[in-house]
């Protein structure tokens, strides 16, 4: 009988995998789950929000124009009288488009003119559409302006702004449940309407807009000018919401617009803007 202690291999009791590698893999996996979960919540929340009756949306929002405060103040806007006249003109043009767009029952969009010089337009909660002076000033024809308005009305018709809020709210709710505090996120929610939409949503608004413009003028000539203007004056980040902002590289959208514009007869007449922004 002998007694001895040969050296034992201690390493069998420690898993070989590098802790850092395991940690990073876990982070990636959990991150992926969060992204997928958020995306699902976003879609579900958006889907539910679209089902909120428009009257309820309006009652909730009141006269507040979400996102308006995110625009830069814009020095040297048109004088008050001209401002009011342009706004009235925009409202009149919008009402002509609305008549051709089959909006949900009871939806009467309000168009606001913002002083910002950055060319921009967006639709927000409660049926509000905002157009900047910078955009108005740069539109070469009423046809182009009509396309922009109709695009935003298309978003309203599809209830895209409230859908974005609904998606955001459901994610904020999840964070509030998990972290116990969703307060800090609420102010960010209002921004969501203005962050931009997915390709599919933008394309749907484009199609609605094209149809309305063709119905109004009989052709789509002059509408492609919108993209030239926007390409020249791309709003930088942090300057608030931007028209067509989500996918600047979505060449397919632009190409379809151009094709529609080109399909119109070369001699189709362009309507000029009725109010000169620079006139006193």
């Amino acid at each position: 009988m002998s007694y001895e202690n040969p050296p034992v291999p201690h390493e069998v009791n420690v898993s070989r995998e590098s802790p850092l590698a395991q940690f990073l893999r876990l982070c990636a996996g959990i991150g992926l789950c969060i992204v997928i979960g958020s995306a699902l919540l976003w879609v579900a929340g958006g889907w539910l929000a679209r089902r909120i009756p428009y009257a309820t949306e309006q009652a909730m929002v009141g006269s507040h124009v979400f996102g308006f405060d995110l625009l830069d103040a814009g020095a040297g806007g048109a004088p008050d009288a001209t401002h009011a006249r342009i706004e009235a003109y925009l409202a009149e043009l919008a009402s002509r488009l609305v008549a051709r767009m089959d909006l949900p029952e009871g939806m009467v969009p309000t168009v606001h003119l913002a002083d910002s010089d950055t060319p921009n337009a967006f639709a927000t909660l409660g049926g509000h559409v905002i157009v900047t002076q910078g955009l108005y000033r740069r539109m070469p024809s009423e046809n182009a302006l009509a396309l922009v308005l109709a695009h935003e009305l298309g978003h309203l018709r599809a209830r895209d702004p409230i859908s974005a809020i609904g998606g955001g709210a459901s994610i904020a709710l999840l964070i509030a449940v998990l972290a116990g505090d969703g307060h800090a996120l609420l102010p960010q929610l209002a921004r969501l309407v203005t962050l931009g939409y997915s390709r599919a949503v933008e394309r749907r608004a484009d199609e609605a807009a094209l149809a309305a413009v063709v119905s109004l003028y009989g052709h789509a000539r002059g509408t492609d000018a919108v993209f030239r203007v926007l390409a020249d004056h791309r709003a930088g980040p942090g300057q608030g919401p931007t028209l067509f902002s989500t996918h600047p590289a979505d060449a397919a959208r632009i190409a379809r617009m151009r094709a529609a514009a080109a399909a119109a007869a070369g001699d189709a007449e362009l309507t000029s803007l009725k109010i000169d922004a620079d006139a006193d």
Partner: protein
Amino acid sequence: MEISNLEAIPGKTTVRHLGLVQGSTVRAKHAGRDILAGLKNIVGGELKAYTELLAESRDEATARMLAQAKAVGANAVVNVRFSTSNITAGAAEVMAYGTAVVVQ
């Protein structure tokens, strides 16, 4: 490889005592199991998921102990002891140790 928690393997003679060998592992139950167990806590009874988890851990700890025993040239481990200690609310360590021996 024979394992026993007796001092020796009955009917066999221990010819060499090769010292202490041990195996251990730390396992965490996952969040899903935790939630189910939380529900089960209301009514009591066996927490199957946890039973399995700890049984798996014990198997692994034993396997690791046997790996050490094999490496030192033993053909049996005697006087085996198990111990379980909780590490955090969701994780436990299971350990097995014994003396590696050569029996004939």
